[in-house]
Symmetry: C2
Subunit: 344 residues, 2 copies
C-alpha cells in the first residue's frame, strides 16, 4: 500500500536534513507518494501567509508528515512557530509528543561516568494543552503599566490520554517504569489534575512502577542520575524543557528525534528532529541529519513497521559509532552512508 | 546596631541546618536579636494554621529572615509551600530571588571536563509574578470533564525591576554579561514583555553584554556549556527549574544558597538554602548545612557587610575542600568546623 508522505522542509537546515531522511526512507519504504510543501519563512515573506487553510486541508489528507525545522531570524519570534509548527500539532491533535533519548555508542555524554547504553529513556510530552494553547493577552502594551498573561489550559481528557499512552509504552519496555513530572506544590490546579489522573490510570497497570517528581527535581536528576528514568510523562512546557535537557545529557540535539503523534490515526502524525532551524549553519551542508533520520524510525514505528524502524536505528547507530571526534561531518555524506548501508 | 533576625527552621532538615547557620552568624555578626518562629508542618497539625496574620506582622518587624525548609509528606502538597514560603515571598515583595551557582574546590561536577572555578553564575529569578501568583482554578473536579487552569501574570513593573537588578549585579561582576531566558516563541505575551523590557533596560548599561535564550536551549547549555553564563535573569518558574539545574551541574543542591530579596528594604529579605526539607534524612544529623551557611553570606551581603560575607564563603569553601569523598558528614561537625575557623 502506498504511503502518502507530506514533506515540510521548512527553514534553515530543515530542507537539508529532510533530504537525507528521505534518502533513507526511499530505501526502507519504497512505496511512498511524497508531496513537498512549501511552508516557512520564504513563503511567509513571499505571500504573507504562514499556513493557508487549503494547505492545512491538503496536509490532512497525507498519511504521515516529515518536518525539518521552523523558524527564521527574519520573521518575528513566534509567528512561524505558532502559525505553523504548533498549528499543525494542535490541528492534527498530536497529543503524544514522543521524544526518546538514548546514549548511543560513539557519542560522548557531557556527564562524567556514563557509558553508552546507560541512558535509555523516553518522554511522553503532552502536545495539545498547557501553556501552548495560545491563551493569554496584554493590556497597555509598551507602557509602564503593561500587564501580560499566559494561561495554561489542562483537561482530564488531555492528561488522561497522554498518561495512558505513557503506561502503554512502559508495558512494552523492559523496565516498566513511569515518572510523572509536574509542579503540583505550586501549580495546584493543573498539578492535582495530573497527579490524580496518573494515580487512577496507574491502578490499571499494576506491573508498572510509578514515581512523581517536581520539574525542578527532575531537571536535577536528569543530570545527576539520568539512568533512573524509563518513561517520563509530563505536560507540554515541562516536556519542552526536559527533552532538550535529556538530549543534552545524551550527547546533544544532533541525535534527538521526535514524533508528534495522534495515536487514534484520525489525523496524520508528524515526525521531526528536536533541533531547530540553526540559521547560522544553514546552506553549508554541515548539519547533522541523524536526528531527522532517526525521526523516520519513529515514523516507521507509527506505520507499524518496527523491523524497518529498528534497521534505521541500527544503521544510524553504526554510522555515529564510526565518527571521528572533531572531524566535520557533511550532511549528504552522512545520509548517503546510512542509505547505502541500509540498501546493502 | 542590633540586627533583628527572624528564624524559621521549618520542616524536616530545616531546623538542623538553620542551627548550624546560626552558629556561624553568632561568630561574624555578634549583635543579633534572634526570634524563633514555630512555623511548618508541626504547627499546621497542632493548630490548623499555616501563617496567621499576627505572625506575618511580627515577621514584618524583623530586619532579615533565615529559613530552613518547608514541606512535609504529612501535609497535602502545596499547602505549606504556598501558605508559608510563597506567602512570605509575595507578602514581603521578594522580587529578586537570588541564586548563585559556583563550582567549589573539593566538589565534583557531574559534568566531565569542568574544573573548580570554571562555573560562576548567578540567577536573578523574578520572585513575585508569573505562574506563582496562585491564579487559576478547576471546574468539574474529579470528573472526566475536569478542566484546570494556571495563569501566569506578568507586569512591566515586575519584569523591569528584576531585569534592572540583574544589570546592576552584572556591573559589579568582572564579566558583565546578562542572559535573558524566556520562551518568547510560544509565550508571546509575557515573552515579548520581558524581551522588550530587557532591550530597553540594556540601553542604560552599554558596558554589559546581553543575550537571549529560550528556556529549552538554556537548559541544554547549562549542561553543555555552563561557563558561558554570568548573570541569568528569568521568570519565576523558569528560574525555579534552571537554578536546580545549575545547582546540579555545580556539584549538587548541598551547596546552593538563595536570597529572597526586597532590594528596597521595605520588607525583610529572607535567606534560605535551595534544598527542600528532605524528610528521608531528617533528624539524623547528616544533612549538609553548607547551603544554609552560604545563605547567611547572602544575608550578610544584604546587610552591607561584604567582608563578613566573603569570610563566610571562604570558610565554607575551605571546609568543603577538605572533605573526603564518600565519608559521611555530620551536620553539627560541619557547622562547628566552619564556626571555629571563623572565630580563630
Ligand atoms: C519551536 C518551538 C515552538 C518548539 C516547542 O516549544 O515545542 C520546540 O522547542 C520543540 O521542542 O519542538
Ligand atoms: C518549594 C517550592 C514552592 C519552591 C519554589 O518552587 O519556588 C522551591 O522549589 C524553591 O525553588 O525554592
Amino acid at each position: 500500500m502506498t504511503v502518502r508522505l507530506g514533506v515540510i522542509g521548512g527553514d534553515g537546515i530543515g530542507p537539508e536534513v529532510v533530504a537525507e531522511a528521505r534518502k533513507v526512507l526511499d530505501v526502507v519504504l519504497p512505496d511512498v507518494a511524497a508531496t513537498e510543501y512549501d511552508l516557512g519563512a520564504a513563503r511567509y515573506h513571499r505571500t504573507g501567509e504562514v499556513l493557508p487553510d487549503e494547505v492545512l486541508e491538503q496536509l490532512a489528507g497525507e498519511d504521515v508528515l516529515l518536518l525539518g525545522a521552523v523558524g527564521d531570524p527574519s520573521v518575528p519570534s513566534g509567528v512561524l512557530e505558532r502559525g505553523l509548527l504548533l498549528k499543525l500539532r494542535f490541528a492534527f491533535d498530536h497529543y503524544v509528543n514522543l521524544r526518546p533519548s538514548r546514549l548511543w555508542a560513539g557519542t560522548t555524554s557531557p556527564l562524567a561516568g556514563v557509558a553508552p547504553g546507560d541512558i535509555d529513556l523516553v518522554v511522553v510530552r503532552e502536545g495539545t494543552e498547557g501553556l501552548y494553547c495560545g491563551a493569554g493577552g496584554s493590556v497597555r502594551k509598551g507602557t509602564p503599566a503593561e500587564v501580560a498573561t499566559e494561561e495554561s489550559l489542562n483537561t482530564r481528557y488531555g492528561a488522561e490520554r497522554a498518561v495512558r499512552d505513557a503506561f502503554e509504552r512502559a508495558m512494552r519496555r523492559p523496565r516498566r517504569k513511569v515518572t510523572l513530572v509536574h509542579k503540583n506544590n505550586v501549580l495546584v490546579n493543573a498539578g492535582d489534575l495530573w497527579a490524580r489522573t496518573f494515580a487512577e490510570v496507574a491502578t490499571e497497570y499494576p506491573d508498572v512502577q510509578t514515581e512523581y517528581q517536581h520539574v525542578d527535581a527532575a531537571a536535577m536528576f536528569l543530570v545527576t542520575d539520568p539512568q533512573r528514568y524509563d518513561v517520563i510523562v509530563t505536560d507540554n512546557l515541562f516536556g519542552d524543557i526536559l527533552t532538550d535537557l535529556a538530549a543534552a545529557v545524551t550527547g546533544g540535539i544532533g541525535l534527538a528525534a521526535s514524533g508528534n503523534i495522534n495515536p487514534t490515526r484520525a489525523y496524520p502524525s508528524m515526525f521531526e528532529p528536536v533541533h531547530g532551524s540553526a540559521p547560522d549553519i544553514a546552506g553549508q551542508g554541515v548539519a547533522d541529519p541523524a536526528a531527522a533520520i532517526l525521526s523516520t524510525a519513529l515514523l516507521l514505528d507509527h506505520l507499524d513497521r518496527p523491523a524497518e524502524a529498528r534497521r534505521v536505528e541500527e544503521a544510524v547507530g553504526a554510522e555515529v559509532a564510526k565518527r571521528v571526534p572533531g572531524e566535520k561531518l557533511r550532511t549528504a555524506e552522512v545520509g548517503d552512508a546510512i542509505a547505502t548501508a541500509l540498501a546493502g
